[in-house]
């Protein structure tokens, strides 16, 4: 038996666009429904009403946001809903010059983790920052939620459009 190895063939975009090779395409129907569960379900309904809702633990008294039905420190059920402020502090941030599907951006997206006031220290949510120059972003920056008008809210995290810096006497946007 003779050993036989084909030359490596790389398929390139032109091979598909010019149809120099034979191929089949198909579009899988990839719709899905994700069950938000009790805690996130209530959280999303709270957002629709214009509130950020957390959940507190009877053992360690931590206030968790986003809310969950058990405390991951104490392994016990959480037992109380807590309405939090819609202000917070930037814990970390990024300047992102490319979208999730690899489109280059001139003006960067500014995703951040924001510790929410009223929740336990370090408890935060991921969201976008806005109304701020990318170069002016700082860890520790105080921010406030900018909400969609009530009639446009759908019970989604995007009911908050973004967080913008809070104007304070000692930390203005001109810093």
């Amino acid at each position: 038996m003779e050993a036989f190895v084909y030359d490596t063939i790389y398929l390139r975009r032109d091979d598909f666009e010019d149809r120099t090779i034979l191929f089949e395409t198909w579009d899988p129907n990839a719709q899905y429904a994700w069950d938000a569960g009790v805690a996130i379900g209530r959280y999303l309904q709270g957002l629709k009403a214009g509130h950020i809702i957390g959940r507190s633990c009877p053992e360690c008294s931590r206030v968790l946001v986003p809310p969950r039905m058990f405390c991951e420190s104490c392994f016990c059920a959480t037992d109380r809903w807590v309405t939090l402020e819609d202000t917070g502090t930037v814990v970390t941030f990024s300047r992102c010059y490319v979208t999730w599907d690899m489109v280059q951006l001139k003006d960067p997206l500014m995703p951040a983790v924001i510790a929410i006031d009223g929740a336990s220290p370090g408890m935060g949510i991921m969201h976008m920052l806005g109304e701020v120059e990318p170069a002016a972003l700082q860890i520790g920056m105080r921010v406030r939620a900018v909400w969609k008008p009530p009639e446009e809210r759908s019970g989604a995290i995007t009911d908050i459009v973004y967080f913008k810096p809070v104007e304070t006497p000692d930390q203005g946007r001109e810093d």
Partner: protein, 162 residues
Amino acid sequence: MSLLDRLEHAGDALTWRGDMPTEGRYTAGIAGERFFRAIKDEGRFLAAVCLECDITYMPPRLYCEECFAHLEDWIEVEPIGHVHTFTVVHHDLDEQPLPEPRIMAFVALDETDGGLVHYLDEVDPEDVYLGMPVEPVLKDPSERKGSITDIRYFRPVMGSSG
């Protein structure tokens, strides 16, 4: 609501709906290219032969599955075959009812050791039987794209009824 409470109404459960944009591409490959281009350009059916193992592969392969030899002997075969097995399909891949049921069969090609999965037509489902002689109906050459659908379907060989 505590952890163990149950929702009284299914509508209370909040679901998040989404759609993942995905597109698949399946290339015919080296042997597949040769096989489909022969159908597209010439209406001919090619098979690959392993002389060592005395196997005629349909659809053709690059390598023998028994001895792993590279297959260089290709032959043209008559696309006459027989129904090896079949089923009647009533729904599409998304579970939507088809306008009318379609018969799908594995058609063993008589001059080969393999065959093709394809539609049967020009026959009622109740008249199909295992071993029924069938032949392919090809699209017009101008409509062929180098795809398995260049074969429209297989039909009973004329003059041979069950």
